[in-house]
Point group: C2
Chain length 339, copies 2
DNA sequence: CGACATTATGACACCGGTGTCAGACTGTAT
DNA sequence: ATACAGTCTGACACCGGTGTCATAATGTCG
């Protein structure tokens, strides 16, 4: 199996390299006959262009980088799966790069990544989607990027998010309609914009239904299971104890459920619990968690597709889009008991 | 910020490109003085070699591919994290490529991957680590590869695994020592070699303790939560019902726990449940799952490090290694009650 | 001191593509 | 027939490195 290069194709077809290149890139100004002939030789020799050589000539790598720093493994998995789908469709590859937002040398780290990998573009997932420093850096370096699940408005870059505020509003309203008025809330990581949005949705819902907002019912989390466990302790120790808990993601909700079960507080009879994200764990535990399904894969897929589109021909108008979140009810929430 | 290439460095330092290249690659036969001088210019101009150009000249990409087809997201996350660690250490990048083992065109798919990405090497995770077809293909194409958690012996390639058989043996023995004799077993995916190994460990332990092997207690799973739920139903419907269940991974064990809880079978008082892997879910549910901790990250990290080592200078003797698995006891198992 | 091995360096082709530009070949209007 | 625009094609340099080889400089030994 000898190597098949553009030269061998050109020779075999009796045309110049450049013409072969033109056919490869679907450039105009190639006669139909020539194009046919070359395409046939592609088949015959089973020719595949070398992406590295292409990359060198065009200063591209055909690689998209995905930056993340997220305690939720399932979120990352979903992000990857959406990004991969888009990449494969357009013959790009996906390079994953976990790193820390708080690392003092975030910029250095990304700089390093860029120089060693020559990425064609970067997908920023939370909390990077909202990092002004990083965004400024990428802009200055003229690296195309797309932001997933960010709340920053008025930016002129590609951005896809889902409606966190509305989702949280609906979920809270669901709890209220079940008769709950003392609804505890566990906030997410302060660096993620979703955290504020979800909290706003919660507040809007209780306000709409004339329920007083009680700061004592709010706990600070950071999306990790561990932080959920801490918040759970604080909340379940409250007196009077709330009848429902809304955690900003399913991991933290699972932690609440675990502690409640340990303390023999019956869920949902004595305590309703709800999460956010519709992570796998929401249906892997009993009772299953009522939650908000966020289209994470789809968001990321769209973000990467737009990014790739942007790379091949920069758009004037930035693509910005908001997807809807959807309420999923399971066994962990029920009407408040009269006890 | 102008582009700094090897040419500008050479010019600035007053030497030839080739000498710069020599310094870059730590080649011998460069006088200390020259080396110093060039290194200083690197600093001064902040020069970073272009990996794409390098790749073209050396026919390398500095990218390692990771193949997987695994229903357990957390397993994949752990695999990635180990692989990433090794890659970053050696300035390689990691490209992830999920695909289906059973896909009729697995080979085509990988072929495609290789031609579009020019990977320097591939890490095979289960079930690919045991795919004879794929291994034969990679061997023929002379693509370096490393196999993670495979059971095939006598192969002359890099292979790292953990001791599944021993782990399962210890866990089973733990249950036996708690007084259980009717221990149900849920098998994993038939394509994964770990499945047979874990099953053997189970059988060896009960045999050692003079317990009769009962085929009725064995259910077929495939490592997915869903398959665990099906097996759980079969097992909990048995009469007499076993007093303990050993599932081949934690997801399936979680499914057993969920069903048991739904049916108000008390765990661990009426039923002990154990899993395998020490996945996050094992400690995110109540009661926490007794399980076997497998060093997935470490296995993968070592596999990738050896792979990279092998790429830069092929070894004569293949690196093969077995890591130990460790029993972790949590609340889901306890001594059999006398009822 | 001459013969020879060793070290240090650079010129140049090459990896496998793409960009630029010039020139040949069409077709159409005058 | 002539001028001119538009289409098609190839020669050649170039992307930013590395491999090969020749040659210059240095060291070693009899």
């Amino acid at each position: 199996m000898k190597k098949v290069t553009i030269n061998s194709v050109a020779e075999y077809a009796g045309v110049s390299k450049k013409t072969v290149s033109r056919v490869l890139n679907n450039e105009p100004n190639v006669s139909p006959a020539t194009r046919e002939k070359v395409l046939k030789v592609f088949e015959e020799l089973n020719y595949k262009p070398n992406p590295i050589a292409r990359g060198l000539a065009q200063n591209r790598s055909f690689i998209i980088g995905c930056l993340y720093d997220n305690p939720s493994k399932s979120y990352i998995t979903r992000v990857q799966s959406g990004a991969l789908e888009a990449c494969q469709k357009h013959s790009y590859n996906l390079l994953i790069h976990p790193c820390e937002l708080r690392g003092q040398d975030l910029i250095d780290n990304v700089e390093q990544l860029l120089t060693t990998s020559r990425l064609d573009g970067i997908v920023l997932t939370p909390p990077f989607s909202d990092s002004k420093e990083l965004i400024a850096f990428l802009k200055q370096r003229k690296i195309p990027y797309a932001r997933v699940a960010s709340a920053i408005e008025g930016d002129d870059s590609i951005s896809i998010r889902s409606n966190d505020e509305q989702g949280a509003f609906e979920l809270t309203e669901h709890l209220i309609k079940l008769g709950h008025t003392e609804i505890a809330f566990i906030k997410g990581h302060p660096d993620h914009s979703a955290t504020e949005n979800r909290f706003s949705g919660y507040q809007r819902a209780i306000a709409k239904h004339g329920i007083d907002f009680q700061p004592r019912l709010v706990a600070e989390g950071n999306f990790s299971y561990h932080s959920g466990a801490d918040s759970a302790k604080a909340i379940l120790d409250l007196d009077p104890r709330p009848t429902a808990v809304f955690a900003s993601n399913d991991y933290m909700a699972a932690a609440v459920l675990k502690l409640a079960t340990q303390r023999e507080i019956k869920v949902p009879q004595q305590l309703s619990i709800a999460g956010f994200d519709n992570a796998p764990i929401a249906r892997h535990i009993w009772p299953g968690l009522t939650t908000i399904a966020q289209p994470v894969e789809e968001m990321t897929r769209i973000a990467v597709e737009e990014l790739i589109k942007h790379i091949s021909q920069p758009q004037e108008t930035p693509f910005q889009h908001v997807l809807e979140a959807k309420l999923i009810t399971r066994e962990s929430t029920q009407a408040r008991s009269n006890s």
